[in-house]
């Protein structure tokens, strides 16, 4: 190739690239919602509700996901002030202090906040975030699998250490996943700061499997929902009613059960990301996220209870949901002070 032709070719390539880059859109009539990867981006009633929002306000909602809550929060802290989106959905009470300390949010008290349960709103510091849903993180079991293997499903945390339940449990990594961290906090609440590591070492010896996120655990490793090998999974107390609702062919009884001794109460929040260029659109979106129109789609899509008290729950939810009498909790200040240390200790004990 002569030098002339080569130069022209190079210039043409560079020119094309410049055009390609310059033609990136920067539409101002959209808002970007950053969420964990189990938030559906299309085809569900949740997305239909968001479409209705778009129709009413003219603002497109773009959903951006990458991993479970822990990963999402870490990315948000690294990009604080220059965020990847405008509103964040799904940071929960176990990861909230990390996000707030990382100065991830801008304060905003949405319209319609009066409809939310005041005890939940009290847990959100300084209007940085607003509570959007509540759930219990519990170990779920596959009813059919235990019936087939003629085993009684375990009922308590201690039961999980027994040899007949060896190699049956899949949990999520607390560093990257909020149900994972919630389950670890449940064991800390139960066994105290001196005993929980021994419990995990025993659980590890009994063959517990660790994956990175809830999506993978529930939809790939769990025997009922994912066709995987494990009949025990850390999931939500509201997973069984969801399984009834989506069952095809329909069933009478819930195909999965909940070990309510293992439950931990989890509150999820949404907030406006600091440094967003689309503050007005973000405010409108947050208003919508706490409104009854959106909150009523939460039980059947995310398997959680809406924070908005005005919303009526679907009847299947009321019938099949297990609301534990005494879900465990850990003081948020304790979580804030010790979370990093606990995660490190857990990693060393279970993965090290």
């Amino acid at each position: 190739m002569t030098r002339d032709v080569r130069t022209r070719l190079l210039a043409a390539v560079i020119g094309l690239c410049v055009i390609a880059v310059a033609c990136g859109d920067d539409a101002d009539d959209r808002v970007v919602l950053v969420a964990y990867d189990s938030l559906p981006v299309e085809d569900t009633t949740l997305n239909d509700a968001l479409a209705a929002f778009t129709e009413r306000t003219g603002i497109d909602v773009e959903i951006v996901t990458a991993g479970d809550t822990g990963t999402m929060v870490s990315k948000a802290v690294l990009t604080a002030g220059n965020p990847e989106g405008d509103v964040m959905w799904g940071v929960d009470n176990t990861f909230l202090s990390r996000a707030v300390e990382g100065e991830v949010f801008e304060p905003y008290a949405p319209q319609g906040i009066e409809a939310l349960d005041p005890s939940l709103v009290a847990t959100a510091p300084d209007d940085m975030v607003v509570p959007v849903d509540v759930g219990d993180v519990c170990v779920n079991y596959d009813v059919a699998w235990f019936a087939e293997h003629q085993l009684d499903p375990p009922t308590t945390l201690d039961d999980l250490l027994r040899p007949e339940y060896a190699d049956l449990l899949v949990v999520e990594n607390p560093a990257t996943s909020s149900p994972g961290l919630a389950f670890v906090l449940a064991t800390i609440a139960e066994y105290g700061e001196d005993g929980w590591l021994d419990y995990w070492r025993a659980l590890d010896a009994n063959g517990v499997e660790v994956v990175d996120g809830w999506n993978e655990a529930y939809y790939e490793r769990f025997s009922w929902a994912g066709g995987g090998p494990k009949p025990l999974v850390v999931s939500y107390g509201s997973s069984p009613p969801a399984e009834v609702i989506f069952a095809d062919p329909p069933v009478d009884a819930a195909p999965t059960g909940v070990m309510d001794d293992t439950c931990f109460r989890q509150i999820e929040y949404a907030g406006i990301l600091r440094g967003t260029p689309r503050r007005a659109a973000a405010e409108l979106l947050v208003d919508f996220l706490v409104s009854a129109d959106f909150q009523r789609e939460l039980p059947l899509n995310l398997f959680v209870y809406p924070a908005n008290g005005d919303v009526e729950l679907p009847p299947e939810f009321v019938e099949y949901a297990v609301i534990p009498e005494q879900p465990r909790t850990v003081d948020p200040d304790d979580i804030d002070a010790h979370r990093a240390e606990w995660i490190d200790q857990w990693t060393a004990a279970v993965l090290g």
């Binding site: 190739m1 030098r3 080569r6 390539v13 560079i14 690239c17 390609a20 880059v21 990136g24 950053v34 990867d37 189990s38 938030l39 559906p40 981006v41 299309e42 085809d43 569900t44 997305n47 951006v64 996901t65 990458a66 991993g67 822990g70 990963t71 929060v73 870490s74 990315k75 802290v77 690294l78 990009t79 002030g81 220059n82 990847e84 989106g85 990390r98 990382g102 560093a175 990257t176 660790v210 990175d212 999506n215 993978e216 939809y219 790939e220 990093a340 995660i343 490190d344 990693t347 060393a348 993965l351 090290g352």
Partner: protein
């Protein structure tokens, strides 16, 4: 003939300074400043104490070190026979074998990781065995070419002479061959150790929580746990270890390395006799198998589904659905387009900066050595350190460039610039200064003479360097892992995320993407080989030679 000849030095100082200004500013802003920020972050008493007293830190350091040593020993052991066969014998398919080894060397780390993942059985899929296997496949080319280069020059007459004096083959090996090969073996070992110590892509794909290296731990702490201080401390720890290794190998090289003016006067012979023929054939086939089988397995796994073979994964490349409505968070086809765009920009930046730097180094004569050393610095640091440094430096005020579209290409260019400089420097240094003198006597000003004589020599090596930079940028994973934001993920990132979903269509899609990336990289390498044939005093177009800095007899 080197750049210290007075002819090229007659260029006016401001001109040379102007040439050097852009690369110097580039390296200072995008490399030195981030490294300084990194050190600043890490020199935090709390973080230092926490990291250095934690058991996990030392477990990780220990694992990184011993897997690097094991990889080096394994690669040397496996590579020595192919090195012998390729350099001492002539056989059909020799050039093809060399080309295949080179192509595998230039492949992105994620692709090699995917290939090894595809070929190993389920129980060995992740962990130490897989990591060592991937390292061997990757670095075989280094051992074969570096040791082979010296072995090629060893005159057969020396060994024959020793034999006539009564030495047995073993004694010949011990007293004649090995002492001459020792410096080359040491160089190859040092290079393989450096590559495997800083291995990131391979360990990300094939590692587990217990078999992780320092680089991956830095990434995990920074992006998954949000603990940037601890990540900075680990980065510094790695820099210290790397610095120590490089320094000790340079010292050893200076002390023991001898410039042997060996020249083999005869072409390598064909294998004689059935024994030799069997040996050569066996070695060649085994070597080809080691590098080709994983790649074939890659394509095979992309076609394999639960019920037989199908193009399902390939057809569904535009969707990364986990279940109805739920996405994986990365669009494979968008990642492909992003990769090409980013690589194009990174190549452009690397070529411009590299060309200016090479011209400045040659024009500056003795002072050029500092610029050369300075530009080689990013080469000694890992890509992870570069990416991490960029991420935590440009995050405030007027220099908050985290969201800029050009930050990822800049990170990739930083990794590629040293290679561009290396491959053009050889050519520039070998230009006859008399040509410049002749132009001067014909009345040209120093700048004009330089422009008319030197610049035309630049284009061909620059084209070759551009190809190499494009291959590096396409497969770059370490720096991009830190800098990529939602919407501009590149192909290696998409591949790694897809490969993490064991079994099922998503993983097959990962294999399919890896095959595409492999094909693109190989196409670039083949084009390099065809388009830039070596000439007298010309640059080597061989990526292995450029990367390892070795010279061949044809280089000036």
């Amino acid at each position: 003939m080197d750049g210290r000849r007075p002819g090229l030095n007659r260029l006016p100082r401001p001109f040379v300074a102007g040439l050097a200004a852009v690369p110097v500013v580039f390296v200072a802003v995008f490399y030195l400043w981030p490294v300084a920020t990194l050190v600043g972050h890490g020199v935090d008493a709390d973080a230092l104490h926490h990291v250095l007293t934690s058991r996990r830190t030392w477990d990780v350091v220990w694992f990184t070190t011993w897997q690097a040593v094991a990889s080096t020993v394994l690669t040397l052991a496996i590579g020595i026979i192919p090195a012998h066969v390729i350099s001492r014998f002539r056989f059909p398919g020799r050039r093809l074998l060399i080309g295949t080894l080179t192509a595998v060397f230039v492949l992105p780390t994620v692709v090699v990781g995917a290939a090894v993942l595809a070929v190993l059985p389920g129980s060995l899929e992740r962990g130490v065995v897989a990591i060592l296997a991937a390292h061997v496949v990757f670095n075989l080319a280094v051992v074969v070419r570096v040791v082979g280069a010296t072995w090629e020059q060893l005159p057969a007459d020396m060994e024959a002479a020793a034999a006539t004096l009564g030495a047995s083959p073993a004694a010949v090996l011990r007293t004649v061959t090995l002492p001459i090969l020792r410096p080359a073996i040491a160089t190859a070992a040092a290079i393989v150790f450096l590559f495997t110590f800083t291995s990131f892509g391979v360990v990300r794909v094939l590692g587990t929580a217990t078999s992780t290296t320092i680089e991956v731990e830095v990434w995990r702490r920074a992006t998954q746990l949000g603990d940037t201080a601890a990540a900075a401390v680990l980065s510094m720890l790695q820099l210290l270890v790397l610095g120590a290794v490089v320094w000790s190998s340079a010292v050893a090289h200076r002390r023991h390395g001898r410039a042997l003016a060996l020249r083999s006067h005869s072409a390598p012979p064909r294998p004689r006799g059935p024994g030799q023929r069997r040996y050569v054939a066996g070695a060649a086939i085994a070597t080809a198998a080691v590098v080709v089988v994983p790649l074939v397995a890659l394509v095979e796994r992309s076609l394999r589904t639960r019920d037989g073979y199908s193009l399902n994964a390939w057809r569904r490349l535009g969707r990364s659905e986990v279940r109805p409505g739920i996405q994986l968070g990365v669009d494979p086809l968008e990642a492909l387009v992003n990769s090409m765009r980013t690589a194009a920009w990174a190549t452009a930046i690397a070529v411009v900066i590299g060309a200016l730097a090479a011209l400045a180094i040659v024009a500056a004569g003795a002072a050029g050595r500092f610029l050369d050393a300075g530009l080689a610095l990013p080469l000694g640091t890992s890509a992870v350190t570069i990416g991490f440094g960029l991420l935590i430096t440009f995050d405030d005020g007027w220099y908050d460039w985290r969201a800029s579209w050009w930050l990822v290409p800049v990170g990739q260019a930083l990794v590629a610039v040293p290679f561009v400089v290396r491959s053009t420097l050889g050519v520039l240094r070998s230009i006859e200064p008399d040509l410049v003198h002749a132009a001067a006597t014909l009345g040209a000003s120093p700048v004009r003479a330089w422009r008319e004589v030197v610049l035309p020599h630049l284009w061909r090596p620059l084209a070759v360097a551009a190809g190499l930079a494009a291959a590096i940028a396409l497969g770059e994973f370490g720096a991009t892992s830190f800098l990529s934001r939602r919407g501009n993920e590149t192909l290696p990132i998409a591949i790694e995320r897809l490969l993490g979903r064991t079994g099922g269509t998503l993983q097959s899609q990962g294999f399919a993407l890896a095959a595409i990336l492999a094909a693109a990289t190989v196409a670039i390498v083949v084009f390099l080989d065809v388009a830039g044939a070596p000439r007298r005093g010309g640059s080597s177009t061989d990526p292995v030679r450029i990367t390892t800095g070795t010279r061949s007899p044809e280089d000036g």
